[in-house]
Structure formats: C-alpha cells, structure tokens
C-alpha cells in the first residue's frame, strides 16, 4: 500500500544562539500540516545538521538563524550537503537576515528565506509546492 509520500523535514537550530521560539513554532506547524519533522535541538554544528539530514533522508532542511551568523552557516551547510551527495535537499530557513544577504544566499543555491513576522502557512505552502514540483518533474 504505497500511500501518499510523506515530506520529511529537518528543522535545525545551528550555531550558539538559543532563541528557539521560532524553530519550535515552525516545527509544530509543519507537523500539524502533515509533515514528518526531525528536530535535533539547539546548538547544532553544520556537520551535525548535514549528518542528520543524510541519515534521515530528509527532503528539506529548514534552519532558524537569529544570531547574524547566517552568511557563515547557510553556505557551510549547503557546501556540506553537496559534498555528501545530498544536493537534492532543499535548504531553506528564516531569521533576522537582511535583504541583500538573502539575495546573496539565494544566488548560492539556498532556497527561500523567511523574515520575522512571516506566517507559518507561507513556509508550509512553499515547502509543499517545492516538494510537489520535485516529484512531478
């Protein structure tokens, strides 16, 4: 009985910043939208995130970065994902990320990045649309 394929998503909190209100809210919202959410807790290194993404065979990695370290963390995770042969994984996220940094990261192959005040429904819709585009293409 091959049922509808579940979307698996890793919600990750990289770096040393412990403000996880957003990560928890979005993780719960993804669960309530029918996704299987792997949450690995705080203070994750890029290596930990990518190792979990590979082992869990996730479709999406969503990172919450409020610490200003996004220009280090997103490219590093993207690079490690590519090196691990997981370049099919969508890397997206949210946090306090200035617009020109968003543009720079998108140019490096990072997916959409959501700013403060984004409704969780926008992120859910984005991930679901990306997923169905991947699986019909």
């Amino acid at each position: 009985m091959s049922e509808e394929r579940k979307i698996r998503i890793l919600v990750a909190k990289p770096g040393l910043d412990g403000h996880d209100r957003g990560a928890k809210v979005i993780a719960s919202a993804f669960r309530d939208a029918g996704l299987e959410v792997i949450y690995t807790g705080l203070h994750q290194t890029p290596e930990m995130i990518v190792s979990a993404a590979v082992q869990e065979d996730v479709d999406v990695v969503a990172m919450s970065v409020l610490s200003g370290a996004h220009m280090t963390l997103f490219p590093r995770v993207k690079k490690l994902l590519d090196e691990a042969g997981a370049d099919h994984v969508l890397l997206t996220g949210g946090g306090i990320i200035p617009e020109d940094d968003v543009a720079a990261l998108e140019a490096q192959g990072v997916g959409r990045l959501f700013g403060p005040g984004t409704p969780t429904s926008a992120a859910i819709e984005y991930v679901k649309e990306w997923f169905s585009a991947q699986n019909t293409a």
């Binding site: 959410v37 792997i38 065979d57 997981a86």
Partner: protein, 353 residues
C-alpha cells in the same frame, strides 16, 4: 536464492551503492521500505539474503524514563568497544494531521557525527504496538548494511509496547523511580517482556526501593509454580510466553536466564558499561540455550504472517471490484438491507473466487 520480482533499474543502482557501504544509500533504502514504495519487497529480499547477523536490542519503557539518553549512552559504549551501531528511534504520528515530531535525536547529539553510528527516526504512521509498521524491516536493512549492534527505541507513550519482543533479541525495560512501583510494572506486562531491567536516573529518591521490588517480583515469578502463569489477565502474552518454552533436550540443560535489575544514570554514563555487559551476556545465553534460534524462527514466522497480511490488505483494498462491493454495501447497510457482515462476506467470497 529465488527472486521475487525483477528489480527495476533504480533499485539495482540503489542496491549497488548500498553494497559499497554508502550511508546515503542506506538512508534512501530505509525511505523506500518505510514508504513501501515500489520495489521495496524485492529490495528487502536482496538485503536479507545473508540472514540476520546483528544483535538487536530493544529499549522500551514509560515516557520520561530517559530511553533516548540511555540508547545514546549504550551506543557510545559500543563505539568504545569498536562496534558499529545502528539506532532506530520511534515517535508517534499525530492522528489528527498525519504529521510527526521526531525529537529523539536531541538526546543523541553527542554521537551525532560519529561515522560508526547511524541514527534513524521513524514515525509510527498509524501502528500501535510501540514500533512503526516497518521498523523491523528497517532493522533488517541496517543489519544487511553491516551494523553489528542495532538499538531499537520504542515510542514510549505509556501503553505496553509488546511488539518490541518480536523485533529484538534482547529487550531492555527502562524505568525511573517516578514511573511507579513494581506492581504497576507487573500489571503493564513488563515482567514478561524484560530480559534486562534498568532503573535509570538512579540518583533520584526511590530508586533503591524500585530495584528491590523488581528483584522480589522477578524472584516470585522464577518460582516454578508461578513460572508460566501470566501476571495479569487481559495482556496478550502469547508471544512472550512462547519464549519461555524450551524446544529441545540439549537446551534444557542450560539454566533459565536470571533477569538482572541494573541501575544507570544515562547523563553521567554511570552503570552503562554494566548494562552493555548484561546485554552481551544475555546474547551468549540466547545462543547457548537455543533460544536465539527459536526467537529467530518465531520472528521469521511472524514476518511471513505480516507480509502476507499486508499483501492481502493491499490486494483487497486496491481491487476495483472490492471497492464497488464496499460502496454498494455501505448504501445497503444504510438502507437496512445489509449488515457489515453480509457485505464483508460478499467481499471475501469475491476475492477467493
């Protein structure tokens, strides 16, 4: 060994990478099996060809007992002993949304980047026995991939999770002083499934009392008069009790396994070495007593039953005729001309025709 179906190109490629030891291939193979995607049975058939090799150790117990931490600590100990470890951690699927929050890795962060450890989180996806529908098959994949020790953590939402006895060679029941007294453990059917008892968070008040009570309860059960009597009615002990039956005369000579009651503190690693030793001792006992072979036979039988059931279900509910009969039958029930039983009979008759 016979083939069950022709492998498609994608599965062939996946198997080839799997056999070179590529971790992403194992991860993807698990997704294929977990999602019961096309070709998953053929994939398992290929991977299981070499038979079970790994030692499978189940961890079960009530919520808050610290199962994930203990699994992480045990995995670390196995790594120190140079064994490769696979971990499967099961969390519940939300019945409302079909989604799940899989949080067991939080407790396993210390071992997260060790290449000798592979951790996979699974959602129950509707299964109720403490494991996900395909957990046992996922364990087979890890076994086929070459992990020598596979640790399986059940959901731990409170109800008794007997399915672990069918998935593991050794079942570790994890309790904490707060999880109640030994009477409650007996009522929950834990006496029957435990090969090793662990009282975790042993620095907390009440732990010595719980250890003592558990030992007394085990001692009582070991008494010959009570040995084969279920501790409590209403718990399905079929499979658990079967394990106490010995099958051949050679094995009769080996003494019964004395279920140890250990104390640990997973956060400080205290007692974890002893726990791993006990698990390994239990393994030797399983081999010597012939129980391992019996358990594996039981497991194989159970697996065949599961696969047949699953196939029958799939065949049943994917049949157009069955769907038609069901649709009509439901209307008939509503109109008072039929009952669920007459409709079901017509469906099974049609299938067997």
């Amino acid at each position: 060994m016979s083939r069950i179906e022709t492998l498609d190109a994608r599965t062939v490629e996946l198997l080839a990478r799997f056999r070179t030891g590529a971790v992403p291939a194992l991860a993807r193979a698990i997704s294929v099996v977990e999602g019961q995607r096309p070709g998953f049975q053929a994939l398992l058939h290929e991977v299981m060809a070499s038979g079970p090799q790994a030692r499978r150790i189940g961890f079960t117990g009530p919520p808050g007992a610290g199962k994930s931490s203990l699994v992480a600590a045990a995995a670390t100990t196995y790594r120190v002993r140079d064994e490769h470890v696979g971990v499967v951690a099961v969390d519940p699927t939300s019945p409302y949304s079909g989604g799940a929050l899989l949080g067991d890795r939080i407790r396993m962060n210390d071992v997260a980047t060790d290449p000798g450890i592979f951790i996979r989180s699974m959602a129950t996806r509707g299964s109720l026995g403490g494991l996900a529908t395909t957990t046992k098959e996922v364990v087979d994949l890890m076994d086929g991939f070459g992990f020598a020790r596979i640790l399986i953590e059940t959901v731990g939402v409170g109800q008794t999770e007997l399915e672990i006895t069918a998935a593991a060679d050794t079942v570790v029941v994890v309790l904490v002083p707060e999880s109640g007294d030994a009477i409650q453990a007996m009522k929950a059917g834990l006496m029957e499934i435990a090969d090793v008892f662990v009282v975790n968070k042993a620095d907390r008040p009440g732990s010595a009392r719980l250890v003592k009570e558990l030992r007394q309860a085990l001692h009582l059960r070991a008494g010959s008069a009570l040995k084969d009597i279920p501790a409590h009615h209403g718990v399905d002990l079929g499979r658990a009790l079967k394990r106490e039956r010995t099958t051949d005369s050679a094995a009769q000579e080996v003494e019964d396994w004395p279920v140890p009651v250990l104390t640990t503190n997973a956060l400080t690693n205290e007692g974890v070495d002893d726990l791993v030793d006990a698990v390994e001792r239990h393994r030797s006992w399983l081999v010597e007593s012939g129980q391992l072979e019996e358990r594996r036979r039981d497991r194989a039988e159970g697996r065949v039953r599961d696969v047949v059931n699953r196939e029958l279900q799939r065949i049943t509910w994917s049949s157009d005729e069955v769907r038609r009969l069901l649709g009509e039958g439901v209307l008939g029930i509503a109109g008072g001309e039929e009952t669920p039983y007459s409709v079901a009979r017509r469906i099974t008759d049609a299938l067997l025709r």
